[in-house]
Symmetry: C3
Subunit: 202 residues, 3 copies
């Protein structure tokens, strides 16, 4: 599916930009900005491939992902003073990347014969683990563990794709629907400041 | 060995509870509590399987571990105000989990033809790496690196099992003896506040 | 190449010493010092082997690396009050280790059919990822991401080796030249306090 591949590259670029931007905010040097951009963009899919036993992972088989995230990170590094101008549109690209990564991860797990819980875990991990590694490298508690911003739309999209697979629906239609579901829920979550419950200590 | 599998599930539940509790103490949201519970319970065995090249790891082949740790983490999240009541019995379940994970990890490494040092490393890692990842995700220096609480009993149990293997002893007997050794040393260490030496800067 | 293997062991020992020293500075106990020493020495090569799909990784196939780094870490733990005396010569051993790890990582990636960008990434990762994991375990932002000290010489050495491979030069000569390049650039970088540009927030 060429549309999914285009979305995949778009998401890779958006994730690389947000990772590079995190490096700049932490006052890292050029190498730190590069590493954070690359890790955010490809970390989730790489961890998925290691866990599924499909090594070398996708990013070592197709150079496009490494080159694309390096170039994006360098561009962000050079033009970081103007980054605020693209922060808002970036949220939309980021949501598309999130949905696409969920679909690719879930689909790959299904292809490897995974059960429901494993397929959803792999889908969510593909979309979110890069950001978790970025935050660990930045010496922060990963954002996703503290404030719900990503996981619910990812779980919904992944479950939808798995249901479509079980029902024998056309893959292209299921995939588009799952990406759209993630994007819509994600953007609504930003707009309305949705959050998961948090334990309160008494 | 059905007894070992029962102990394994018991240990998984105890580790998931302690991981979830760490998430609650860090004021994480529901997803953070889930992730910390799951990672603490299955992280060590997953890392072991990746290193031994046995992918997909155990937790992606048998759904029980994922479902069990998710359910336990959710229960801890809901009833966390009452957690103190189970903190003391949990220490004993935790010790059983520690011993069982050491035995399973060491045994698997032996099965894969590992030498003594590798088998002990894999045994200790199976039992402790989940907690290390939990602490890294919580942005803390892993507890095990600062204050001896886990490693010595694990090393002792793993070495005992390896010795039993080299001497050709019955596996079931060696395994039970190794689990018991870990549990006893661990509980004595808690009671008597044992600790490894620490370097003092002059 | 026996010379390269000798350099490899020298570098392993130097990396283990610097890792153990980091554990002592963080007031870790004996186990923490051991783990930091071992992880710093073998972490990069282990991650490389996992990514290339060559598991079990080198350190589980040849016990020498594990035993050597454990012994070095214990020695540093015992004699840490005298560590300052070896800190200066250690920098030179460390540079040799850096060059050797770059060459071994790049060469292995080439052997596995990697492209230029993947080979350089694997070379740099072999030499630097151990230190990154050490810093993550110490709850610090990895040094390499904040202040350029390692990456540029590694990239230069790795690119040189790859070029030698493409030009069909004798491997031994390319490897020696690449190690020498890393060592020289690294020592010059220390002497002259070279650094990569850093983004400045306005």
């Amino acid at each position: 599916m060429n549309l999914l591949y285009a979305f995949d590259l778009l998401g890779t670029a958006a994730f690389a930009a947000s990772g590079a931007w995190a490096g700049i905010r932490r006052q890292m040097d050029l190498l730190g900005v590069l590493v954070l951009g690359v890790v955010t963009a490809i970390g989730g899919g790489t961890l998925r491939d290691i866990l599924l036993g499909d090594t070398p992972p996708f990013c070592l088989q197709n150079d496009t992902y490494l080159y694309l995230s390096i170039v994006v990170a360098v561009v962000v590094f050079i033009f970081h003073r103007h980054f605020e101008h693209i922060a808002h549109p970036l949220l939309y690209l980021d949501a598309i990347g999130l949905g696409t990564f969920v679909v690719i991860g879930t689909q790959k797990a299904i292809y490897f014969g995974s059960s429901f819980i494993v397929a959803v875990t792999m889908g969510v991990m593909t979309a979110t683990a890069g950001g978790v590694i970025r935050d660990m490298l930045s010496n922060r508690v990963p954002l996703i563990l503290r404030r719900e911003i990503y996981a619910s739309p990812c779980i919904a999209g992944s479950a939808l794709l798995y249901a479509g697979h079980m029902l024998g629906l056309n893959y292209a239609i299921s995939a588009i629907a799952a990406v759209a579901l993630v994007v819509v829920v994600r953007i609504l979550a930003i707009r309305h400041n949705w959050a998961l419950p948090r334990a309160k200590k008494n």
